[in-house]
């Protein structure tokens, strides 16, 4: 197997380093977003104000994990379709179940 020219090798190495830096940034950002969410709960804001913010923060974390850590970005589109189909199904099932149980319980 050939490693390619030294120039190509250096380019791959550069790409991998920037990739690693991106992973660390996303990882740290994910931890920070979690702490921000906990802080918002602890300061005792109104439920109607804080709940949408918490859901938005969780959505950002989920998308960061899926597209960067799970490599959906740059992978075959088919994987993204399955992920989005699963996510849509999850939201639909979760919402329907919640409404049905609350009505009948």
């Amino acid at each position: 197997m050939s490693q390619g020219t030294p120039l190509e090798g250096a380019a791959i190495e550069r790409q991998r380093r920037s990739q690693k830096a991106l992973y660390v940034t996303i990882g740290v950002l994910s931890l920070v977003l979690t702490l921000v969410a906990v802080f918002l709960v602890e300061i005792g804001l109104q439920r109607s104000v804080v709940l949408p913010v918490l859901i938005a923060l969780a959505a950002v974390q989920v998308l960061m994990q899926a597209f960067l850590f799970m490599h959906l970005r740059g992978s075959r589109h088919l994987y993204s379709y399955f992920f989005l189909a699963g996510l849509s199904l999850a939201v639909l099932i979760g919402t329907c179940l919640m409404i049905l149980i609350q009505r009948w319980a």
């Binding site: 390619g4 996303i26 931890l31 969410a37 709940l51 923060l57 699963g86």
Partner: protein, 207 residues
């Protein structure tokens, strides 16, 4: 052949994914289909919890029993494990088998820490009067978090299995796909926890 020696035969970047050097394999597609099904499974548990969490009968409410600092630490531990596993995959891509093994050990360790936190939490809740039979809230809570814990335990077992394989037989193209597929599963388990932490613990504390 030693691990390092076999690593020299790992596929090159241009032979795998054009941009990221990731393996192309039907097992990856298979895992994404599996994860779509898992989304539906956890959605039904979360939807069930959200529908039942107000049914506390004579037992404690979520706001009374949830220990937010403890759960926050557990969450940070699990999120850190997502970073360590992705760094393990990155090390595998650059054929650094030793670094990959270290990152995977760390991931397994963080997973075990998380399970310990969860075990402690369940033990505390039991002593505070919240069990599976106490109320609809208790049943829904323990079912949801218990199933998530089982997924984490399975993930830890999977990581350890791959680690022992890589220590014994080194790593080749087939095993890189296995490690990559395992990492996808692990990230998914983390993603589910982010949703559980937000909708169960944080929303439960808000009121």
């Amino acid at each position: 052949m030693s691990a390092q020696g076999e690593a020299a035969h790992l596929p090159l970047q241009h032979e795998t994914s054009p941009e990221l050097g990731l393996p192309k394999d039907n097992r990856i597609l298979g895992l994404w289909i599996f994860l779509a099904g898992e989304c539906a499974f956890f959605a039904s548990l979360i939807g069930g919890y959200l529908g039942l969490h107000l049914g506390v009968a004579h037992g404690p409410t979520g706001a009374q029993v949830f220990d937010l600092p403890l759960t926050t630490v557990a969450t940070l531990v699990l999120l850190s494990s997502s970073l360590t596993v992705v760094l393990g995959v990155a090390a595998m891509q650059r054929r650094d088998v030793r670094a990959m093994q270290i990152w995977l050990w760390l991931t397994a360790l963080l997973g075990i820490f998380f399970l310990e936190f969860q075990g402690f939490e369940f033990y505390t809740f039991y002593h505070e009067g919240l069990t599976l039979q106490t109320s609809a809230f208790g049943s829904a809570f323990f079912t949801l978090t218990g199933f998530h814990g089982l997924h984490v335990a399975f993930g830890v077992f999977w990581i350890l299995l791959l680690l022992f394989q890589s220590l014994k037989h080194g790593i080749n193209e087939d095993r890189t796909t296995k490690v990559f597929v395992m990492s996808l599963y692990w990230h998914f388990v983390d993603v589910v926890w982010v949703v559980i932490f937000t909708l169960v613990y944080l929303a439960g504390k808000v009121g």
